[in-house]
């Protein structure tokens, strides 16, 4: 609330930010932030054909397979979420 008041002129900006996935806030956990980073990384690989073929050569796999696996890995790139410690 206080931050909202402090940035009255820019509250709209914050709302705008909140509409996109991958953006963060002051209470973001390490796991959440890193998961976003991993997804971004994987998405970047899928999105850049050159990176795709680079990984395909390194792994000795077909480009399609790399693409598929990378996409699959985006589901839970850093494993399952850690249990919440409710105190």
């Amino acid at each position: 609330m206080s931050s909202e008041l402090r940035y009255t002129a820019n509250t709209q900006l914050e709302h705008l930010h909140a509409r996109y996935t991958g953006t963060g806030h002051a209470d973001l956990t390490k796991y959440e932030w890193l998961t976003h980073q991993h997804r971004d990384t994987l998405a970047s690989i899928v999105g850049h054909p050159t990176l795709n073929s680079y990984l395909a050569i390194a792994d000795n796999e077909s480009i399609g397979r790399i693409k598929f696996e990378t996409t699959e890995r985006m589901l839970q790139p850093c494993g399952p979420p850690p249990p919440k410690d409710d105190d």
Partner: protein, 1144 residues
């Protein structure tokens, strides 16, 4: 002294009339000057009688068809409605009988229209007996005798409170404000001075507290309250005065307040400061509590409080022992408090109250809520804002209550339906919103069973609003679900009113839903089709109107759906006369444009006969409809020009192109529009040829109508169709009508300009004549005429140049130049604009008078404060500075520069912009030094707007003359100790860098030291403006290799990210965003990373905000820059980004 001299002493007494006048003035003092505006704000006072018929509606409980199977609500509603019909019938009979009696002369003709008392009573009794217990179905049961009174007075009021409140029409002044429960004795004079308010004995009943409204009144009231006996005793001498006994039969108008309780000692001491600021406590101490509407217990301070509110909120106005109340009573009071807060509270109070009432809606239940809300909405003194808020409450509550609302549907409808015919658009929208939500909550079946009885209600008002409400239900729940019901209603055999309303529902659906009716068009048309042959005239008319609305909504599609009605429509126009015919023609007018060309032509021919017959009509409505239909027919593709020329035009011109048509504004417009439409088909020469002679008609309004038509026709179709003979007549007519006009009108001016411009070079032979007219009129003694002549010059300048008549132009230019001494600013403005137009077409070098003479003449005129003059002169000067600056000595330009500074203060933006641009032109021709000096000096002035404009002008000078000419001067000026100058310099620099863009790469290093200083200044504005400069710089130099200086600036900007002032933080954030572009997101990420997980939340919040905008700006580019945090992996969560670790 002689006998004749009057005694001087007597002459000191004022004459009687004067004394009388003062006495009257004193009496009038009580009159509330705001009473009139207050009644304007009140919805009921503003609206027509028809709208106010809503007050006479009766709502009934609608039983929930889904819960109790016996459907008693509907049956009762129908029975009640039958009774009402019967009641109206009996009343009508009585009226007729009475009329009959009067005509037969049975009644004595003493102008007393009142029927014999006995008769009325008999009828009233009969009615009361007939209605019997059913009338208890009203949702506000008044007690028995009052109800009878209501029937007798033929005023079906809503509640007993409303009865009372509606009695006094004039707003009472505060002196004689009566608590609601005291009955006003009949025959009592409404106004009394305070002296005859001698208190009578203490009444038994405690007086109802709270009377006054706005807080402004409260304090005044405290001082102006009535003096008590004790006070009077203390003030007046004990001898020589006696208390007069009140006259017999006097009953105090105002219930005496708690007078005996007043402690005199305190209130006589004059002004004193109270210990506590609590108004209620102060009031209580002074014994004034009942008079002061300060705070309502449990509600707090209100924005206002009206006397009428006291009736509704009586229960919460006095302190009560809450422990003695039952749960229901507590609930009721809670609702009342919330409603009062919403209706009268300040915005924050209102907001929380609204949220509470929404959250607790189901807890309160529909009954208690609506029993409180709905009577408030029917209050006669309701104002727009209050209505809006209450409607909002209903809307929110409806959403929460959902199907619990069913028993109250009819009550709500009775209150909300009137909104649908409100003249205020937003009220209509609100009404629609509520009814659509209501129908979604209650369900279609319930809505139909509730509204069914109103469909053939005896009152037209009720049927009208019900039809509109039904159309809203249709749009909310879909037309298909309502169709079977509509079909049944439109075919109702029982009453024509039902059919009429059914068809009207269809019409309203079409009007409201527009092209959304298309999928159901055939069904809707079939619904109403048979109404064209109905035996009731009104039903036939309404059917035609409904078809017109459907066709209009469906345009340009859906002609096939109308197949069934074409024949009856076209047959109908031969059978009907008057209103019915008008409606049929209207329907035809809307259907013809949907048709294929060949059908359209056939049907147009069919209808033309009737149209031509109706050209002769004397009925204004019919005239308008006929004109409209002609316009629609003429616009359709199938109608040939040949046909229009032969069959329509002769009669059309005979009937409508007469002087009489020019007199009525609406007829005038319609005729012009239709003629222009006909001209699209028939051609310019056909139409213009027919009316051109009327330009010399003796009636001026008619000449104007002709001129307007010719203007529009020529503007849309051009003048190439006009042959030589017509051209002569046309120009002749135009000059004639222009000269003969008595009121200088825009129409004549536009017409002249349009026609001459359309004729172009063909106008050359007439130019001498035209120009001599203008010259003659430029010397007219009327300022208006001179102004119009100048305006005409502005319009003709281009054409005169086209015709090669430079001679004439220079003559005009000279005459206008001589006229620059004009004293009327409007005229002067036009003259300058005309001079400007001539200078524009002739060019600066050929201009006569020469520019070097013209400009010095303009300098003093720049001081004129009139906006039109300012704008015209700045445009002319700007043009000269742009094109012919070298023809004027530099000294003159400097003089103009100083005058221009004044124009920077102008209110109109166009003037300021033109002035700022002129600085640029002048600087270009003179070199920047002097102009810049003027502008920099102007940064010292007090006025902000002037300074801001100067900074913009500096930037424009920098842009036109190159930044290197200005930046050193600005940097030098920045060293001034004055704050305004420094911020002005910063602002100017910010504009400079914004305008020059990539060029700023050359100047980065020169401004870095200054920016260092500004960014580390204590003054917020310095840092804000410096951040803006950094933003423009960074965006300008992106990719130009200035990263080193930019990184330096970044380090200076960055600490400002914790600023809280909105403008500063905005500027800083933008600067950081710009840095992302020029330094790359990786650098920014390393800055941001320092605080994303900072222990202090305030730091984290700011850094995440920056991170988010960074992320949204360059998500993909950030991927390689994320830190490698593999060592943080724990358990199942592995944070290594393996794909990035691969290499070949």
């Amino acid at each position: 002294m002689s006998e004749e001299t009057p005694r001087l002493v007597d002459s000191f007494t004022a004459p009687k009339e004067v004394l009388q006048e003062f006495a009257e003035l004193a009496e009038e003092e009580d009159v509330d000057p705001f009473a009139e505006t207050a009644s304007k704000r009140q919805i009921a006072a503003r609206q027509s009688d028809y709208h106010n018929r809503r007050f006479s509606r009766v709502a009934n409980e609608s039983g929930d068809a889904f819960t109790d199977g016996d459907d008693s609500g509907y049956r009762d509603a129908m029975r009640l409605q039958m009774l009402e019909k019967e009641e109206q019938r009996v009343k009508r009979l009585i009226e007729e009988k009475e009329k009959q009696d009067r005509e037969d002369g049975k009644e004595n003709m003493d102008l007393d229209r009142t029927p014999p008392r006995a008769e009325i009573q008999a009828v009233a009794q009969e009615l009361a007996a007939a209605t019997g217990s059913k009338r208890k179905r009203r949702w506000d049961v008044g007690d028995e005798d009052e109800r009878k009174e209501a029937i007798k007075a033929d005023e079906k009021e809503w509640s007993d409170q409303a009865l009372e409140s509606s009695a006094p029409k004039k707003r009472r002044s505060r002196w004689d404000a009566t608590p609601a429960d005291v009955n006003v004795a009949p025959g009592e004079t409404p106004k009394r001075s305070r002296w005859d308010q001698t208190p009578a004995a203490q009444p038994d009943a405690p007086p109802i507290p709270i009377l006054m409204n706005a807080p402004g009144f409260m304090t005044e009231d405290k001082h102006n309250r009535y003096l008590t006996d004790e006070e009077l005793d203390a003030i007046l001498p004990s001898q020589g005065y006696s208390i007069v006994t009140p006259p017999p039969g006097y009953a105090p108008l105002v219930a005496p307040r708690k007078l005996t309780a007043t402690p005199i000692s305190a209130s006589l001491g004059g002004f004193e400061i109270k210990e506590s600021s609590d108004a209620a406590a102060v009031a209580a101490a002074a014994g004034l509590a009942p008079e002061l509407p300060t705070e309502i217990p449990g509600v707090g301070n209100l924005a206002f409080f009206k006397p009428e509110d006291a009736q509704y909120f009586a229960k919460i106005l006095k302190e009560e022992d809450e422990t003695e109340l039952s749960v229901d009573e507590m609930k009721e009071r809670k609702i009342m408090r919330l409603l009062l807060k919403i209706k009268n509270g300040t915005p924050p109070v209102r907001k929380t109250a609204l949220r509470q009432i929404t959250d607790k809606a189901r807890e309160f239940g529909a009954g208690p809520l609506f029993d409180k809300i709905l009577p408030l909405l029917m209050e006669r003194t309701l104002e727009d804002q209050e209505r809006h808020l209450l409607v909002k409450v209903i809307d929110r509550v409806l959403y929460k209550l959902d199907d619990l609302v069913r028993p109250y549907v009819h009550k709500i409808l009775v209150v909300i339906e009137p909104l649908l015919i409100d003249e205020d658009y937003y009220a209509r929208v609100e009404g629609r919103e509520i009814i659509s939500n209501l129908s979604k909550a209650a369900g279609l079946a319930h809505m139909i069973s509730t509204m069914r009885p109103d469909i053939d209600h005896a009152d037209e008002y009720v049927r009208n609003t019900t039809a509109r409400a039904f159309s809203v239900v249709a749009s909310a729940l879909g037309i298909p679900s309502l169709l079977p019901f509509l079909k049944a209603v439109c075919r109702s055999k029982k009453s024509w009113q039902a059919r009429h309303t059914g068809i009207r529902i269809v019409q309203q659906i079409a009007i409201m839903m527009g092209c959304a009716v298309l999928p159901h068009l055939r069904n809707l048309v079939d619904c109403v089709a048979h109404g064209l042959q109905d035996e009731q005239q009104k039903v036939r008319t309404m059917t035609a109107l409904a078809l017109a609305a459907l066709a209009e909504a469906a345009a340009p599609y859906g002609i096939e759906s109308f197949d069934n009605v074409l024949k009856p429509l076209w047959l109908g126009i031969r059978l009907h006369r008057g209103k019915g015919l008008a409606a049929f023609l209207k329907a035809i007018g809307f259907i013809i444009p949907l048709m294929d060309p060949e059908y359209a032509s056939y049907y147009t021919k069919e209808v033309t006969v009737i149209l031509i017959r109706e050209f002769q009509t004397s009925d204004e409505e019919m005239k308008k409809i006929v004109l409209k239909v002609v316009k629609q027919c003429a616009a359709t593709e199938g109608v040939t020009p040949q046909y229009i020329k032969q069959d329509i035009l002769p009669d059309f011109f005979k009937a409508f192109w007469v002087r009489r048509m020019a007199l009525d504004r609406r007829n005038y417009k319609q005729v012009v529009e239709t003629t222009v439409e006909l001209a699209q088909k028939a051609g310019v020469s056909e139409i213009v040829g027919r009316i051109v002679n009327d330009l010399k008609d003796e009636a001026e309004p008619y000449r104007k109508m002709v001129m307007e038509t010719i203007t529009k026709v020529v503007a849309s179709l051009g003048a190439s169709d006009i042959d030589e003979r017509l051209e002569v007549r046309l120009v002749d007519g135009i000059i004639y009508s222009f000269q003969e006009q008595t009121t200088e009108d825009q129409v004549m001016l536009d017409g002249f300009g349009t026609v001459v411009n359309a004729l172009g070079i063909r106008v050359k032979p007439y130019l001498t004549q035209i120009v001599s007219t203008i010259l003659w009129r430029l010397n007219n003694k009327s300022a208006k005429v001179r102004q119009q002549a100048a305006d005409l010059t502005t319009r003709l300048a281009v054409v005169i140049k086209q015709c090669g008549e430079d001679q004439l132009l220079s003559k005009l230019g000279l005459v206008l130049f001589e006229q620059l001494g004009e004293e009327y600013p409007d005229t002067l403005g036009s003259i300058i604009a005309a001079e400007g137009a001539i200078a524009n077409v002739v060019g600066m070098t050929q201009m006569n008078p020469p520019v070097k003479d013209l400009l010095p003449r303009m300098t003093p005129i720049l001081r004129n404060r009139h906006e039109k003059v300012q704008e015209a002169s700045i445009n002319l000067i700007g043009r000269i500075a742009d094109r012919g600056a070298e023809m004027v000595p530099a000294r003159e330009w400097m003089r103009i520069c100083f005058e221009l500074l004044d124009l920077l203060k102008a209110h109109k933006k166009a003037i300021r912009r033109a002035a700022v641009n002129s600085f640029g032109y002048i600087a270009k021709s003179l070199g920047p030094q002097d102009v810049l000096q003027v502008l920099l000096t102007n940064l010292r002035v007090q006025e902000r707007q002037s300074r801001v404009c100067s900074t913009v002008a500096i930037a424009i000078v920098a842009e036109t003359c190159g930044p290197f000419t200005c930046i050193p001067a600005i940097l030098n000026e920045y060293r001034t100790a004055e704050l305004n100058v420094r911020t002005g310099c910063l602002k100017a620099l910010s504009f400079v860098f914004e305008y020059v863009g990539p060029q700023s790469a050359y100047y980065v290093d020169s401004v870095v030291t200054m920016l260092e200083d500004a960014l580390t200044d204590r003054d917020l504005v310095h840092r804000q403006t410096a951040s803006t400069i950094v933003k423009h710089l960074a965006l300008g130099v992106a990719g130009l290799g200035c990263e080193d200086s930019m990184l330096h600036l970044m380090n200076l900007v960055w600490p400002n990210c914790f600023e809280t002032s909105p403008h500063v933080i905005g500027a800083v954030m933008e600067a950081i965003e710009a840095m992302r572009v020029t330094l790359g997101p990786g650098v920014l990420l390393s800055y941001v990373m320092q605080g994303l997980f900072h222990p202090a939340r305030k730091v984290r919040e700011v850094y995440w905000r920056i991170y988010n905008s960074l992320y949204l700006g360059a998500a993909d580019a950030l991927v390689p820059f994320y830190p490698d945090v593999g060592e943080l992996s724990e358990g199942p969560n592995v944070y290594d980004r393996y794909p990035l670790q691969m290499f070949i």
